[in-house]
Point group: C2
Chain length 317, copies 2
């Protein structure tokens, strides 16, 4: 008999779920279309049917100890998603929906917080009690751990580092405000930076052969791999914005490490080196050369499920 | 028999101490010169002699449950002061020094953290589990409470909001870096702002009658009280810097309240109104109109002792 927790990651297009033991071994995983145009009940009915079939097919018996859910705009305190972006649901009580199928502890949070807990329970933040996890994807999310616990704030909405204003009257952000970190240091941000560089400079770049408006962060990474100077510059600028704001975040949290996760973090040294350089250059002396900048220790393909599953393992120890 | 804790606040010139019960009643208080040019042992010998005399003279018997100390650069994890500014001691183990006199729990932190705990145990943050205390004095300190506990970070140095860079290549700060919040929103900061306004504008101001280099924040407050337009402007600029950075801090912490403490906070609406205005104007919509900006609930004359005494009351409940 194996004790596991069920991790569910609800995304705009697909929902992934899986059973995870205390050591981070994923026993079973599956995914299905979220179909957010239909009621959320429909997602959970399909998910639990698939889960049941999966469990029947498993050679070993499992006991599910609880259900962790990562979802956009999910609030830990209420167990609800409220006005999620990319989902047509208005307000969904995730805890109540799960309880229609399983009478077990349910813990809910947003994707970035789930990633942070996954890192603490299974990944590169094991044993750490103070660290910052940053998800560098289309947007920027952050999950911050203080004294071994996630920072939720008084209403559950803490940890929105992506919307710190890093450039007064800067780029328009998806949130409607100007100059947010997310508008500079996300996959979208580096793409905008590259577009600006291609327009404003006349340096040679292999990216000039591609249509400017369809440029992707992956193409910028490939160009950097091919030693494209302008692509290096785009990573340098991106890393500068993130590194400078991390120097501020360190003043607030004095974390043992900052862990970079997500698509843009997969660019490795191209992004890690400038982030580290500009963070150190802007740190108050007492913090210099103390804060590690680390990659995630979770495999990309399993990270979302591990993060969600970690919500329960973190609680029950 | 009355249970009390001993609170000690070590300053550059004077050291205050007192006995405080669970309700925040100060039974006995006294102060003496720190005399930091002599060994720290000498301070503690004099302090405990004075305390003993004080206790003998008290009508009621007391039991001291522990000793809390607030001091510049004091580290909660090590119990030491390391290279304190304004004190000629290099490294002093405060816990060990107290234990030479009293075999009781000792808890040590810096002044701003002590103020935050004082606020949580005795002041306007009673019942709050997530808030930010900001001390606006000659410099800026901050004590941040998350999930009911102070944010110390992995090394004890967290909560240095005064050194967040709010103006790239801005004013030189005492720390040697450029553009720190402290260089704008402290008593020193508003004085520099007023000096700049007096130099750069030709608006009438009663402060023009005073020698520019001897200007104090108190004089700016008095001028604002006398409806001096340029003094209003100085408070507006000061409040803008602090309010804008608070909008960023709210993204990290989502606190129930921000509490402003210290000399500059005593200017009341002159500073609270612009802080609130610029914070709200820069908040991500989900945080708007939710975060209170409050004055401290501790009497200035007792705050330092209450904060230090709260270190122990917070532990023993």
């Amino acid at each position: 008999m194996q004790n596991v927790t069920l991790g569910i990651d609800i995304g705009g297009t697909n929902t992934k779920f899986g059973l995870v033991d205390r050591a981070g071994h994923v026993f079973f995983q599956d995914q299905l279309e979220t179909e957010a145009q239909r009621p959320a009940e429909f997602l959970f009915e399909r998910l639990f049917r698939r889960l049941q079939n999966g469990i029947h097919a498993m050679p070993e018996k499992v006991t599910i100890k609880g259900v962790g859910i990562g979802a956009p705009n999910a609030n830990h305190y209420t167990g609800k998603i409220e006005d999620p972006p990319n989902l047509s649901w208005k307000s969904v009580n995730l805890t109540a929906l799960v309880r229609q199928h399983l009478d077990l502890p349910v813990s809910v949070t947003n994707d970035a917080n789930a990633a942070a807990l996954g890192e603490m329970v299974f990944g590169n933040a094991r044993g750490m009690r103070n660290f910052i996890e940053i998800t560098l994807g289309t947007g920027i999310g952050s999950g911050i751990v203080v004294n071994g616990e996630l920072v939720y704030g008084h209403d559950g909405f803490a940890g929105e580092m992506g919307h710190v204003i890093v450039e007064k009257n800067g780029r328009k952000c998806g949130c409607g405000r100007l100059g947010c970190l997310e508008a500079y240091a996300s996959a979208t941000g580096i793409t905008r930076t590259m577009q600006e560089l291609l327009s404003s400079s006349d340096k040679a770049s292999i990216l000039r052969n591609l249509p400017l408006n369809d440029l992707t962060s992956k193409q910028i990474f490939e160009a950097a791999n091919a030693k494209d100077e302008l692509a290096f510059e785009a990573f340098e600028i991106t890393g500068r914005y993130l590194g400078e704001e991390l120097a501020n975040a360190v003043l607030y949290f004095s974390p043992e490490a900052v862990i970079l996760f997500g698509g843009l973090a997969a660019a490795g040294d191209f992004i890690f080196k400038p982030v580290k350089k500009y963070m150190e250059a802007n740190l108050l002396p007492i913090f210099q050369n103390k804060v590690k900048i680390l990659p995630s220790g979770l495999a990309m393909s399993e990270a979302a499920i591990l993060g969600a599953a970690a919500l329960i393992w973190h609680k029950i120890g």
